[in-house]
Symmetry: C2
Subunit: 356 residues, 2 copies
Amino acid sequence: MGEASMITVLIMAGGKGTRFWPLSTEEKPKQFLSLISENTMIQMTVDRVKKIVPIERIFISTGEKYVNLIKEQIADIPEDNIIVEPEGRNTAPCILLSTLMIERKYKNSTIVVLPSDHLIKNENVFVETLLKANEFINDCNDSIITLGIEPNRIETGYGYIEKSNEKANLGNSDIIKVNKFVEKPDFVTAEKYIRSEKYLWNAGMFIWKSKKILELFKCYMNSTYNALKDIAILEESKLTEYISDNYYLTEATSIDYGIMEKINDIFVIPCNFGWDDIGSWTSVERYSKADLNGNVINHNSIMHNSTKNIIVSGKMVVFNNINDVVLVETDDVIFLSTKKDDQEVKNIINKIDYIK
Amino acid sequence: MGEASMITVLIMAGGKGTRFWPLSTEEKPKQFLSLISENTMIQMTVDRVKKIVPIERIFISTGEKYVNLIKEQIADIPEDNIIVEPEGRNTAPCILLSTLMIERKYKNSTIVVLPSDHLIKNENVFVETLLKANEFINDCNDSIITLGIEPNRIETGYGYIEKSNEKANLGNSDIIKVNKFVEKPDFVTAEKYIRSEKYLWNAGMFIWKSKKILELFKCYMNSTYNALKDIAILEESKLTEYISDNYYLTEATSIDYGIMEKINDIFVIPCNFGWDDIGSWTSVERYSKADLNGNVINHNSIMHNSTKNIIVSGKMVVFNNINDVVLVETDDVIFLSTKKDDQEVKNIINKIDYIK
């Protein structure tokens, strides 16, 4: 049997998504927005994990330009718990960098890796799940565990995890061996996945011991590992320069592609704690309070003969005979779209000069 | 034959319309807005009549709260050419007050009475028409002339003027005796009017000698006349107090109802100089330049799969799959309506507290 470790948490907050444009911009992406509550997505994420670890053991990886936003929004986080990527190179280098940095403070901890911008409604179940995963890893130190979300609709926007029939050999029927990770499917395939009841959504949440994941980097992403491995031994004063000199040598790829898809021994815990990646205004709507006509409005707005609209604006907004649109106003821009087409914003903002 | 007089112009600018809400408000109604050009409607109106009279002979009647807007927008108008109504009491008292005030400066002039907020596209024809009317009045001093607009669509939003078969007995076939003034018709009646070719739109434009209109007030609105008649003889210092003490005694009614509908000898000149009262966003659209997809936009906006929209905003506006709406943004409000229903704004703003 294995040994117990301290739990640390890595929250990945380097995303630059503009799906909520013009509210989200490269200057202030989704994780820093208040989409669902008064708190921002990253504040909600931090609060959630504070139920299992103190703030000193919560680390946030991000880009240089977001450091100030993190200091503003997570006022109590120790400054050196903010891990700065010199540039965005996808999740694998970010996780390696962060693991090595965490190692410097907490030797061989059990690391919970989480996205910064997802919603989890039932936080108690989430916490129980993490504790269960931690217990399992304390028994089987070499385990890689991911949390898989029980799907409740046909969804082509996520990757999936195919379960095997094999349960963890510990009398714990909730932990299942992964058969394979699969990319975002087309609609017909997604429908087949749901019907088969063998698939879970890949929500990008992992738990492992730092020692184990470092071994995997050494085996499966060796040049990347070598580019950064001296973080473990360098003295403090040389660290920043070393990272900026070497980070660009890492392979810019995802942890799924770089490691998870290449190994066989991964366990998944099927979860049902009200997870949502809040990928569109429609999902914001799902978790917001609406008026009697289904309008999600912020202020003293007037919806005259208007239904099922989503409005984000500091001004009074008056609609007359308007249905099923999203209107977002910022200091610079007014964006108005039919709700069902709101994801086309990606194609539109490419046309706009001042959005880089 | 009659005698020639000096021409003066009275522009009535007391209207409080909010049809262009939230752009037009009681603080800044339509006549003070730039709806069609960089100039405001009242600036366009003043510029138009400067072609026949100098600014010293142009008078503007309005309410106290609009005096500063007029001074800003018509910088060269002599201060005492702004005639202040103590309260809005419809057009008849306003015309009587203004006529008496004009009399003090220009004894027995020929007064052209005009609304301040209408569009006239062909200004040369307009000027020719006024000069023709003036010539006719110089021949027949007692004439009351109105300009009637040749209708080009079935319109239920205007009053109509029914022509008689009788032409002015001066070899001038363009000037026709009025049969009667009629109120705004329903659709079926309006359709009948257009088919009959006997009706013109009542655009609220009149020409008469001050002496004649004062006689008519004396005859047909005697108590109103008596309430204000001393304006003609009072010394300057007592004028303001007299007007505010007496104005509320006048009958709050329109010139059409108070006088025009009661007399028989009115002439009308059928006009075709591109008149429009610009009563809705749809009429603004008629006179504005649109993009290839029929969108009327002010700025560097992006209309993605969006057609036939009207946008008034200082911000970049991005539409995605939106058609046939009007969006108006002001400092306080964003208003969005289907174009065809934009006149419902009247019912909506009654609900809004801060619009009094």
